[in-house]
Symmetry: C2
Subunit: 197 residues, 2 copies
């Protein structure tokens, strides 16, 4: 028989299903939660229930939202003429934190013929329908084979529209020491070198 | 305005209050939870609510439990004549995982005159009331000043009873390399050396 009450075991099991949280960390977190005050836990629990009931996809950009249009698309202070195209809603926070003040568009995945993911499976049509008046589309997806394929596909589709298309720069990470950088990144940083005078 | 729906922000806030989980990890976990299936999340949420409603302290050993007596104290296969004294309920899992098949007693803290924690604040009386027929008490608390003080106090109290009192061994960690071990631990491992022939 387990040394712990069933409810606590259930919480530890749930926590250890999360990415990067092993059994031991889950035990530590579960035990810590036992000591937290009741209000905190009940608010957390009700937020979890609400999450599944109240969060939808933004009808414009596919970001998570609690109404038809997300916080970003409904913000009058944002520049809707710049669209940053990302793979997942979680990527939005990353670029939003950089200070980018335009809008986003979530593809919902990357093209992958091998996995049967074709353009129809991604929110590409809804991106195209948003292009009126747009000055720049920033393709802000990774550098995997799927990301490069998706990027190429998007560029081909977008280049007929009269606007700037850009992608994330590739090169040395900030604070990175040369001796620890892989060869492919080094070559990239060399070919994409930036003039400083 | 935040890029995220309020509910998701609430979940990320809650997660980042947990020990060892920063804002970025909390965001990653929150986003991951969004993708998990509804049943999982609702079970997790209800376990959190149940945790605060249904979990009490065992009236015998102070372990967490869902009834009057915990799973360990009510297990007929355990040797109730050995008591492992620990600081917190969370320590029980650690020693239970070592294969120890006796019972536990949770002190609920350590003596600390500076913080105003005196013997009356700990479950020491209830430990004394359990000593009838007990063959060994293992003091399984840490090696901090408070732990040493508590250990000394307990030994003084217990030595009048006719039974074995032991504490955890101190020395090299398993797999530890000598050059990385601190001086105090090295000295301890030397003075507490164990005969092998």
């Amino acid at each position: 028989m387990s040394a712990l009450p069933k409810t606590l075991e259930k919480i530890i099991d749930s926590l250890s299903s999360l990415p990067g949280i092993g059994r031991k960390t889950a035990q530590r977190l579960g035990m810590y939660m036992m000591k937290m005050d009741d209000d905190f836990i009940s608010e957390f629990a009700s937020a979890l229930v609400d999450m599944k009931d109240n969060i939808y996809s933004c009808s414009k950009c596919n970001n998570f939202c609690e109404s038809d249009i997300c916080n970003i698309c409904s913000d009058p202070n944002r520049n809707m003429n710049m669209i940053c195209v990302v793979e997942n809603p979680s990527d939005i926070i990353l670029f939003d934190n950089t200070g980018f003040n335009g809008s986003f568009h979530v593809l919902g995945g990357l093209l992958s013929p091998l996995d049967g993911i074709s353009p129809e499976d991604l929110s590409i049509d809804s991106l195209i329908s948003r292009l009126d008046g747009v000055e720049e589309v920033i393709i802000a997806i990774g550098t995997s084979v799927e990301a490069e394929t998706t990027s190429l596909y998007l560029v081909n589709l977008l280049k007929s529209h009269n606007m700037k298309i850009s992608r994330l720069s590739q090169g040395l990470p900030v604070g990175g020491q040369l001796e620890y950088i892989d060869q492919a990144t080094l070559e990239k940083s060399f070919t994409e070198r930036v003039a400083i005078n």
